[in-house]
C-alpha cells in the first residue's frame, strides 16, 4: 500500500518528462553497438546532480531498464547485439528476421522483456526484504555453484556438436583468465600488453565477435539486404492471444530464473539467459527448431534478461551489494544524492525508494510502446542495402569500442575478435559457449579459490550446507537433463537386448 501512495506522489509532470527522456536515451544507447545502459548511466549521473533525488533516480531507472531492452532490437534485426546481454537474442531472433518475420520477432522480444521486467519489478517491490535475506546466504562456494550452473548449460546448447562447443567454451575460459588475478593481484597471460593488464575487456570482445563478424558475414554473403525473402516484412509485432498463451509458461519460468540470478551478486545476465534457453529447449516439443528461429527461444532469453536487470537491484537497494556491473553504477548514483542503500533508504526516505520503483515500472511499460509501435520503423532497417548498412555498423562499432575506455587498443581488439568470430561461425564453432565462459570464467575461479582459502582446503565444511546442496543438485540436473532422453533410450535398448 505504501508503494501506491508514494507512486502517486511521484507522478508529477517533471518526473514524467525526465522519465520519457531516460527511456529514449536508454533505448537508443542500448541499441547502438558498443553503447549500453552503463554508458547512459555514466553520462547522466553527473547531469542529475541538480535534480531532485526522486527525479534523478526515476531518470536513471528508466535508462537502466530500457537500456537493457534496446540491445534486443539490433540483435534481432541485424544480428548485432547492442550489449553483451543481448547476445542470446541473436540465436533465434535473427533467423526469424531473415525469413521476413522481423516484426513478429520484435513483438516477441518486446512482450517477453515487458513480462520479465514486470516480474522483476514486482519482486523488487513486494519481496525485496525477504529475498534479500537469501543474498546474505551466498558465500563464495554458493557463487561458484551458480557460475557452474551458467556453464553446464553449454552442454545442452551444443548437443549437436559437443566437441566444438567445448572447444569454444574452453577458448572463452582461457580468454577470461587474461589479466589480473582477482585473489592475489598478480597479472597473468597478458604478455606485457598494458591495456589488458587488468583483463580482456568484455565489450570490445563481444562487439568484435558478434557485431563486426556480422559485418563480415553480410559482406561475404553478397546479399542485397538482410531479409532473405523479397516479400515485405511479414506479420505484425502484436501477438495473438494464442501466441501469448503459448509463451506464458516459458516467460514465467524464465522471469523467475532471471530474477533469482539477478539477486545473486556477481552472477551475470548471460547465465540467466543460458539457463532459461536450455530449460525452454528441453521443454519444447520440437527442440531441434531452437537456433533456427523458434519464437520460444527468443521469448525465454528476453524475459530472463529484463527480469535479471530488475532483480539485480534487490541486493543493491536492500544490502548495498550490486547484483551486476550496471547496478553498481546505481550505487554511485545513490551515494551522489546522499542516499545510503539498505533499510534506512526505505525507513527514512520511502518517497525516494518507492518513487524509483514507480519509475522502473513506467519504464517497463515504455518498452511496450517503444517496441510495438516503433517496430514498423526499426524493421525497415532490414531493407536498407547492405552496402550502406555494413560500413555504418563498422563505424558505430569502432566508435563504441573507443568510447568504452578511450583506448585505440580496443578498436584493434574488435578487429581481431571480428575475424575470429566470423571464422568461428563459418566453421560451426558456436559463439554462445565462448561468451558464457568468458563472462563467468574468472568469477568462478575467484569463487573457487576464495572457498579454498576460507575453508583451508576442506570443502566438506561448506558442501553440505542446505543452500549449497540445493545448488549442487540443480547443477547436476542441468548437466544430465539435456542427455536424459538419450540415457533413457540407451537403457531401454539395453533391457530389450537382455530380454
Amino acid at each position: 500500500m505504501e508503494f501506491f501512495q508514494y507512486a502517486i506522489q511521484a507522478a508529477t509532470p517533471e518526473n514524467m518528462l525526465w522519465l520519457v527522456i531516460g527511456c529514449i536515451i536508454g533505448a537508443i544507447l542500448g541499441a547502438l553497438p558498443g553503447m549500453s545502459a552503463d554508458t547512459g548511466l555514466a553520462i547522466f549521473i553527473p547531469l542529475t546532480f541538480n535534480l531532485d533525488p526522486t527525479t534523478a533516480l526515476i531518470t536513471l531507472g528508466a535508462i537502466y531498464v530500457t537500456g537493457a531492452y534496446g540491445g534486443n532490437i539490433t540483435a534481432v534485426l541485424v544480428n548485432t547485439p547492442g550489449t553483451s546481454d543481448s547476445v542470446f537474442m541473436t540465436i533465434d531472433g535473427y533467423p526469424m528476421t531473415q525469413r521476413g518475420e522481423g516484426l513478429k520477432a520484435i513483438g516477441v522480444t518486446t512482450f517477453s522483456s515487458f513480462f520479465g521486467g514486470m516480474v522483476g519489478a514486482a519482486s523488487l517491490i513486494f519481496l525485496a526484504p525477504i529475498i534479500a535475506k537469501m543474498a546474505v546466504l551466498f558465500g563464495p562456494w554458493e557463487l561458484f555453484l551458480v557460475t557452474m550452473m551458467g556453464m553446464v548449460v553449454i552442454l545442452g546448447m551444443v548437443k549437436e556438436g559437443v566437441l566444438k562447443g567445448l572447444v569454444s567454451a574452453s577458448f572463452g575460459f582461457l580468454c577470461s583468465l587474461i589479466g589480473m588475478d582477482g585473489v592475489t593481484g598478480l597479472t597473468r597471460l597478458s604478455f606485457g600488453i598494458k591495456p589488458i593488464l587488468d583483463s580482456l575487456p568484455l565489450l570490445p570482445v563481444v562487439l568484435g565477435l558478434f557485431a563486426v563478424s556480422q559485418m563480415f558475414d553480410l559482406a561475404a554473403t553478397h546479399s542485397a539486404t538482410i531479409a532473405i525473402t523479397d516479400s515485405a516484412i511479414k506479420g505484425s509485432p502484436f501477438l495473438s492471444k494464442k501466441e501469448h498463451k503459448a509463451m506464458f509458461k516459458n516467460n514465467l519460468r524464465s522471469s523467475i530464473v532471471g530474477t533469482i540470478i539477478g539477486i545473486v551478486p556477481g552472477a551475470a545476465t548471460t547465465a540467466a539467459a543460458g539457463i532459461s534457453y536450455n530449460m525452454a529447449k528441453k521443454d519444447d516439443p520440437h527442440p531441434e527448431t531452437f537456433g533456427k528461429g523458434n519464437p520460444q527461444g527468443l521469448a525465454c532469453v528476453s524475459a530472463a534478461n529484463n527480469a535479471e536487470v530488475t532483480g539485480a537491484l534487490i541486493p543493491l537497494l536492500t544490502l548495498g551489494i550490486p547484483g551486476n556491473g550496471t547496478s553498481a553504477l546505481f550505487l554511485g548514483a545513490l551515494l551522489v544524492h546522499g542516499l545510503a542503500p539498505g533499510t534506512q533508504l526505505f525507513a527514512k526516505t520511502p518517497e525516494i525508494a518507492y518513487g524509483m520503483f514507480f519509475g522502473i515500472i513506467m519504464a517497463t511499460f515504455a518498452i511496450l510502446l517503444i517496441g510495438l509501435y516503433g517496430a514498423p520503423i526499426y524493421s525497415k532497417i532490414t531493407k536498407v542495402p547492405n552496402s550502406i548498412l555494413i560500413p555504418i555498423i563498422g563505424s558505430l562499432c569502432v566508435l563504441g569500442a573507443f568510447t568504452y575506455r578511450n583506448l585505440f587498443f580496443d578498436t584493434l581488439l574488435i578487429l581481431v575478435f571480428g575475424i575470429i568470430g566470423f571464422y568461428m561461425q563459418r566453421s560451426n564453432f558456436p559463439l554462445a559457449p565462448f561468451v558464457l565462459t568468458f563472462v563467468l570464467g574468472k568469477t568462478s575461479e575467484m569463487a573457487f579459490r576464495r572457498t579454498m582459502i576460507i575453508t583451508g582446503g576442506d570443502l566438506t565444511s561448506v558442501m553440505f550446507k542446505p543452500l549449497a546442496l540445493a545448488l549442487f543438485a540443480i547443477d547436476l540436473i542441468l548437466l544430465i537433463w539435456p542427455f536424459w532422453g538419450d540415457i533413457k533410450d540407451y537403457l531401454k535398448k539395453d533391457k530389450t537386448k537382455t530380454i
Binding site: 566437441l163 563498422g394 578487429l415 575475424i419 560451426n428
Partner: protein, 151 residues
C-alpha cells in the same frame, strides 16, 4: 575407420592449429606465474584446450563426417577486404580524427560493396558523420576520437 571427409582441406585442422598456438603460448607464459594457486587455473584450462583440439584433429582425420564438421568459408576474401578497410579506418581515426576518417571510410566501403549511386554515398557519409557529432558530441558530451593532429 573411414575418413568420411573427402575435401582436400578441412578447416578443423586450421582451427586446431590456431588453438594449439594460443594454448601453448599461454601455457608457456603461465609457467612464469610465481604463485602456484594463481597458476593453477590457467595451466588446467590450457591443457584442457590442447586435449580438446587434439580430439578434434583425431575425429576429423579418422572418424565419419558430422554435420558440425561442414564449414562454409566462402566469402573469406571479402571478409578480409572488409577487415583491411576497417583497419585503415581505425588507423585513420587515430591520425586524422573520427570526423575526417569516417566520411572517407564510409564512401570507400560503400563503393567497394557495389553501391553505384554516388550521390547517395556522399549524402549518407556526410549525414552519418553529422549525426554522430550532434548526438554523441553535442547532446551526450561523449569523447569522440580527435586524432593526433586535432587533439
Amino acid at each position: 575407420m573411414e575418413n568420411g571427409y573427402n575435401k582436400k582441406f578441412n578447416s578443423n585442422y586450421l582451427s586446431a592449429a590456431f588453438i594449439y598456438l594460443v594454448s601453448i603460448s599461454f601455457l608457456i607464459n603461465s609457467f612464469s606465474i610465481k604463485d602456484p594457486q594463481s597458476r593453477m587455473f590457467p595451466t588446467v584450462i590450457c591443457i584442457t584446450t590442447i586435449i580438446l583440439a587434439t580430439l578434434l584433429v583425431i575425429r576429423t582425420k579418422f572418424m565419419t563426417t558430422k554435420k558440425a564438421d561442414e564449414d562454409n568459408l566462402t566469402g573469406m576474401t571479402t571478409a578480409l577486404k572488409m577487415l583491411a578497410l576497417l583497419f585503415l579506418y581505425v588507423v585513420g581515426i587515430e591520425i586524422v580524427s573520427f570526423y575526417i576518417a569516417t566520411p572517407i571510410y564510409l564512401s570507400f566501403t560503400m563503393l567497394a560493396l557495389g553501391q553505384k549511386n554516388k550521390k547517395l554515398v556522399v549524402i549518407v557519409s556526410l549525414l552519418f558523420t553529422l549525426g554522430v557529432y550532434l548526438f554523441f558530441d553535442l547532446l551526450l558530451g561523449m569523447a569522440v576520437p580527435m586524432g593526433r593532429f586535432l587533439s
